[in-house]
Subunit: 431 residues, 2 copies
């Protein structure tokens, strides 16, 4: 799909001059639009007029309907429509969660189509990277702000996440050696992929910034004989991680620390951060680089794994940023360079795992779907719908190419003891 | 090696108050320095006081000498020393080429040591990235300027390069499957590595920007059955490339075009540029991105292979930039993002092959060394010494970690038909 290959629907001349709120009958073979229906068309124009069927609050479809619509959207409430007009990215989510907007059909396919059409219409670079992005970056991720933001999302309760994550509670992109791998298999493969990129050996010391429920630390301690210090701000996650390490008899090799990555001390053979950078904020990337610089040994390896984008833009989606993940921002590579360039680290390897996040989210959404009753019982219908939308919208974004997943490996510039080729990542000889 | 772990030599108090030009005898066990010898020490300080022995124009060594010097430098001429003081990076090269500065011992080891000590002293980020870099970037790489710059370096005569390059005349970093691979083997492996990254299939169309003597185009046409249009500004190289394609019966599948990359037309399954970006100039990276955007098919793959650095800085080395490679500039990744981010290309893969360029240059230097007589006969002693310094200094830079070699692969953001893993690059299954 090339940009600008789809023109907005051209409206029949004079149609905007209709005046009442109901659908008018056809006049001379041309369908005349009411002002509100004209506004709905305009709204669809702004996202490239994707092939979706719309039923408005009066119960009538917006005509003409597309021949092969990907889904039918019901806007049940006139006010919901006017909110959509004002700020579609924010209010689509809110009104979907509240049930005032409904999608009949495949929600993921619908969201993917909208993402693709919108990009084709507006350019893949997205709208205005400038001010919005900059204002956004300044927000929240002070030491106290980060604590608050993390609490909002990660302290919803371990039980909630246990409903739909894998058994190790890994809440980051998996690595699918093949498309049909199970989620459990793919999460283990991810941890092994990361371990190989970090060239871990028994006895190596590792520091982890943002450890979630502690799965990577346990994997490194159990499978690679490493000593891991793992940082996380979420009290619920840390408690869970400590308990599991205790149960597995790994407590002597793992220290889970409930603290900010900026307070990391000591030196380590490896630095790893999987899925934390999204919450760091670009203004603090240099801080992160300085933390890595002061903690990494001379021959140490660092790996940062993060959702990213093709170019700097505003918040990933204002609804997700406000309702699901406060303070989150997926950076472009140019922004990520602020982590390693001021310290003159050498980038060794960057891998884009976007398709793997699509697949990971498919598994999560499927499991989430099987737990809908439990989620509804505990959090209510609106929460259920919000999370279904969040998971589906994330699949759509990775599938449409608006989100990426970057894994970056870097070292000190003077380290010449590096493998010659990447054969060691793929079981080959050489190097 | 960590930055700032070596202090500049502390001078004995009062030593700077010596006054004549000759070495003074020891006084009370302390060696007193003349003003010039004090200045020599200061100059060494600025590069972190590496363990090198120095003999000055009066034939006397600078004392105290280091216990285990990596080499002995003879500055045969007082004026050469004062030029060094003013602009060491430029004049070391000129006076080395002229024979007024001589290095006894291993030139590569000497240059590598100086690079490392200098970085340890001044920080791996290097000095002032700001103004110098910006002024530099503005230079020369207009359509006409590029033509001139390319002529300076690449039109020295094919015979000259044939003396020390491999039989395919590949003048870019090779890919060593193992350290002891021959140069011929490693250059073929590089072309195969690039072909695999581009996922070439028979019948694919490829456009190459900056094709040198045309080896990659011949390899793609011969080994992968591709149709290649290859651009280069150098008339000598294009003539050579056409002749070889003719000899090999590949003319029907390769078109060598003597023109600037900005004039590329048509659409292609793959875009490749190996070793041209160094000559493009950061101000023109966006132009390059636009060329790729308008020439790549929807599922096309793009690969850019370039010398780079850990962070934005000034010219790689002013002597190399002025005397060897006018207009050359090795970018940091943050600068390279100007190629793909404005077009919203998705970065799929970045690989750093710095150690491979060290090895490639070792082969070139060894072959160059075996051809010294031929080079001296044709170009004179000063040219011979300049090129020996250039090749040795390049090894030093890759070995000391001041230069990197980045291979970047990128695609359109909407392309989901990508291999799931990188197994296909390493002969594995999966994907």
């Amino acid at each position: 799909m090339k940009r600008n290959d789809m023109d907005p629907l051209s409206l029949p001349g004079g149609a905007e001059r209709g005046s009442d709120g109901a659908a008018l009958p056809e006049q001379g073979g041309q369908r005349v639009l009411t002002p509100e229906r004209w506004l709905v068309r305009k709204l669809l124009d702004t996202v490239g007029s994707p092939p979706i069927a719309l039923t408005l609050w009066d119960g009538q479809p917006l005509e003409p309907e597309p021949a092969d619509p990907v889904a039918r959207v019901r806007v049940r409430d006139r006010r919901a429509f006017y909110r959509l007009l004002r700020h579609p990215d924010l209010h689509f989510g809110d009104d979907y969660a509240a049930g005032r907007i409904q999608v009949e059909g495949d929600l993921v396919a619908f969201l993917t189509t909208v993402d693709r059409y919108r990009q084709a219409r507006n350019g893949y670079g997205g709208g205005r990277p400038g001010l919005t992005a900059r204002l956004h970056r300044a927000r929240h991720n002070t030491l106290e702000g980060s604590q608050h933001n993390v609490h909002h999302h990660y302290d919803l309760g371990n039980d909630f996440y246990a409903l739909w994550l894998d058994e190790e509670m890994v809440y980051t992109c998996a690595y699918f050696p093949h498309w049909e791998a199970s989620l459990e298999e793919a999460q283990r493969a991810k941890m092994d992929h990361v371990a190989r990129k970090l060239q871990l050996s028994p006895g190596d010391t590792v520091v982890e910034a943002g450890c979630g429920w502690g799965s990577l630390a346990r994997h490194f301690a159990r499978e690679y004989g490493c000593h891991v210090r793992a940082f996380n701000l979420s009290s619920e996650q840390i408690a869970y991680a400590r308990e599991r390490a205790e149960q597995e008899g790994l407590s002597d090799r793992i220290e889970y620390v409930q603290d900010d990555y900026r307070n990391v001390t000591g030196t380590y053979d490896a630095f790893v951060s999987v899925g934390m950078l999204e919450h760091v904020g670009t203004d603090h990337y240099r801080d992160l680089g300085e933390v890595i610089d002061r903690t990494l040994t001379d021959n140490g390896r660092a790996l940062v794994h993060s959702i990213g984008r093709n170019r700097p833009m505003g918040p990933m989606n204002p609804w997700i940023e406000r309702r699901i993940f406060p303070g989150a921002y997926p950076p472009a590579l140019s922004e990520m360079t602020e982590i390693f360039e001021p310290m003159a680290f050498s980038i060794q390897d960057v891998e884009n795992l976007r398709l793997h996040y699509d697949r990971t989210l498919q598994h999560w959404l499927e499991r989430f779907g099987r737990s809908e009753e439990a989620v509804r019982d505990r959090f209510g219908d609106s929460f259920l719908r919000a999370w279904r939308l969040y998971l589906s919208g994330s699949i759509a974004a990775f599938r449409a190419g608006t989100l990426q997943l970057f894994q970056l490996v870097f070292t000190r510039p003077t380290d010449n003891d590096l493998p010659l080729t990447r054969d060691y990542l793929y079981g080959g000889g050489g190097g």
